[in-house]
């Protein structure tokens, strides 16, 4: 409690730094969900360097796209087109983004497979189930469907076929493989996922996210004010807002984008942080009955110290699980895990150093009776 002024000062600085960064510096990077645009994930048959990818894209004027390596090193990439397309017609904007996506894919494919396609070969790395079945029907009639299924399953498992050997390793019979070699080729890349969000949809998602955050905060305030005194409710809101702002600030310093899962992460952090805060408030309430003679400040200090062990441990376990998610959970969920990582630490900080001081300040400004509302 002694450090409360330092704590508040530090918080203020952090938030200020974040704001400056957001408005004047790099800014908050809005992901595809909110900012609109296209996000494409591709997997290459053979390893490719990021610079090579950027070169291919620059050749068609898309060099400023954000390219990230994900997953299998050198094979998987995530590309976000950063073209700002301002157009009156929302539909045109979406179509323009889709065309950008097409251009990206074509640029990366280059001339791959053009000769083979002209000769009537099919790309085994991109063919769909029904076409593959049709292809196999001539040689294997009844079994065609089952075999096609197995091949597609193998492809899903491996990601992309680098050579026909992989088919044999997946248990496909040699005569099937030789049949395929005559009719197919292995394309250079495959599109793993593709997401295009038009401006209308982006605006809608932004609105929904904001509503979710506002209502959650309102819900929390109401609940805490109901269970404890108003002063505590206000403190909680203050703390929560700090949580969001601090985490947002720190997040903005990284290169990561803000998408819907990040909003979910914020709300979860808010929920967790409130947990800790409530535990402390609960203890304060209890101690107020026991330690009637002490000042509120001392009661709070003792309560904090009593709960410190517990707070750190529970945050620790959550931190452990989130760490596991961050390190092992794969790329798609990684931004979310990172946000949760920052958030859980930050949540403890805010609970311990901010929640009680705020109540004290409030009470200094609005002195009221000591009782608690049950």
């Amino acid at each position: 409690m002694k450090y409360r002024y330092y704590a508040l000062g530090f918080t203020f600085l952090l938030v200020l730094a974040g704001f400056i960064n957001i408005f004047f510096g790099k800014g908050l990077k809005l992901g595809v969900d909110f900012g609109g645009g296209t996000l494409i994930r591709v997997m290459f048959k053979n390893p490719v360097a990021v610079s090579a990818v950027r070169q291919e894209l620059s050749a068609v004027g898309l060099g400023n796209s954000v390219i990230q390596e994900t997953g299998k090193a050198g094979h998987e990439f995530q590309i976000r087109t950063m073209q700002v397309i301002k157009s009156l017609d929302a539909q045109q904007e979406l179509e323009a983004h889709q065309k950008l996506g097409d251009r990206v894919i074509e640029a990366l494919k280059g001339d791959d497979g053009k000769t083979e396609l002209a000769q009537g070969f099919k790309d085994l790395n991109n063919i769909d189930l029904s076409n593959l079945t049709a292809l196999l029907e001539k040689g294997f009639s009844q079994e065609a469907g089952k075999i096609a299924h197995e091949i597609i399953a193998a492809r899903i498992n491996i990601g992309i076929f680098t050579n026909y050997e992989e088919l044999r390793q997946a248990g496909i019979k040699p005569d099937v493989i030789s049949n395929l070699k005559e009719k197919t080729f292995l394309g250079k890349l495959t599109v793993i996922s593709r997401e295009t969000v038009g401006p209308q949809a982006g605006a809608d998602l932004r609105k929904k996210a904001t509503l979710a955050v506002i209502w959650s905060l309102v819900g929390m305030l109401g609940y805490i004010a109901f269970r404890f005194k108003l002063a505590y409710g206000v403190s909680a809101i203050f703390t929560l807002t700090q949580d969001v702002l601090i985490t947002l600030s720190i997040y903005s310093f990284t290169n990561r984008e803000i998408n819907l899962p990040i909003i979910a992460a914020f709300l979860t952090i808010v929920g967790f942080s409130i947990n800790d805060t409530i535990v402390i408030f609960d203890r304060v309430r209890e101690n107020q009955k026991i330690m009637r003679k002490e000042s509120l400040e001392n009661i709070m200090n003792s309560s904090l110290n009593m709960c410190l062990g517990r707070t750190i441990i529970t945050t620790g376990t959550v931190f452990l699980t989130v760490l596991a998610l961050f390190l092992f959970g794969g790329d798609v969920i990684n931004d979310f895990a990172f946000c949760m990582l920052i958030g859980s630490i930050e949540g403890v900080y805010s609970t311990v150093y901010l929640s009680c001081p705020v109540v004290l300040f409030w009470q200094k400004i609005f002195p009221k009776t000591k009782g608690f509302r049950k």
């Binding site: 899962p261 794969g330 969920i333």
Partner: protein, 511 residues
Amino acid sequence: MKKGLRWKIILTLAVLAGCIVISYPIQKKIKLGLDLKGGIHLRMQVITADAANIETDQEILRLQELFKKNNISYTSMTKESPSKFTIQGTNPDQEGKLKDQLDQYLRDWDYSLIGTSISVSLKPLALQALKDQSVEQSVETIRNRIDQFGVAEPIIQRQGREWIIVELPGVDNPEHVQDLIKTVAILEWKLVKAGPAQDEATLLKDFGGKVPDDMEVVKGDPKRRAEGYYLVNKVAAVTGKDLRMVRRSVDEWNNPAVAFQLKPDGARRFEQVTGENIGKPLAIILDKKVQSAPNINARISDSGIIQGNFTIEAADDLVIILKAGSLPASIKTLENRTIGPSLGADSIRAGLLAGLIAILSVMTFMIVYYKMSGVNAIVALILNIILLFGALSYFRATLTLPGIAGIILGIGMAVDANVLIFERIREERALNKSILNSISLGFSRAFSAIFDSNLTTVISAVFLFQFGTGPIKGYAITLIISLAANLFTAVFVSHWIFDATHTKSTQKLSI
């Protein structure tokens, strides 16, 4: 055995058994979200102005016939907007008669007289009803097409006023499906007056370079090898609405084609047109693109084929679209997300790995820090997870990647409750209370804190569910179920396990 203990054990075992039975076998029972299974998610907007346009056009035609019948004079009727048109040049002497007619026949329309012009507009309520209906009909038509196409567990839903959400799991050819959905599919047969020509100028050579009032220019569809510009009659002899049956068939060279049969009324018109125009070409037009324009060889009454460079797949698509009927309005895409199955498989693998590591690390910590009581917490944790999967299977809730994250978070929070209780028990022990008393106090004192803290996270999860999209909804659900299960296991089950393993004579409390 203590009296109350027996029913507690039985209840717990019953719940456990129930959950295991419901979620077995797990691959089939858990519904996977689009981001884990792969598939396509589309958010589309119905351009309701189209429907209004059609309605206004038809109203103009109806009114024109009405005026003709009643000898009411006017110079022109022009459409101003999708829901408004103006009648110009009326005769002031006929005002009374005019008003009578309009009052009688314009049920859904408002009109106002300004000099010799009348402005007619669709009543707001009628317009809204029309828009709603076009959206509903679009949803139905799309559903129809997708049913025929054959997708397992599709989601086709109206969202808000004019949006439609389509989610098709497991679809591996997204472009194909999108075409299937978005094709408006207005099929028309129109007599060809000139063409095919390289460009419009050549086309209109014999018409003085201008398009006559009762004709229009349409382009050929390059996919059907019907290139070039055609000049056709504006009024269609026969349209898709006259179709009685369509199926895939073959043309005279055994290439795939679409065979059709007309309803009696349409057949009559078809017979008339073909009979009067033998030797001339008749264009078959789909969504303003000429598919083919064969010459009329003989008078045909009720059946024929649509041919022209169709693959089997393309022919099947056309059959699906025609069978389902045309869309009442055009559809535009607002959001388009395609997830390949390998990304989903990767995500599942990663999620399981992270989950396993999370569980193991938490378990290790609990045993190290709380010793034997830690085992108690671990049992509760395992039970928690089984309950979770049971609930997911029972409610047919969808598991998404954020959902898996939610489960992992839930693991961290589940232990939270145990920690609260154990710390409390330790405190009570430090005050030298008896073992049984400490346990009992630990649980009761910690309960309010546990309840409050779980509840607040549930509050934010509820709002996430309300406002979130698919994957986020999945997250919210798993989090809420986790917390609910947690309340059961940490408070109820842990408690009776403690009670069962510690009696009055227990000397040591390993915590």
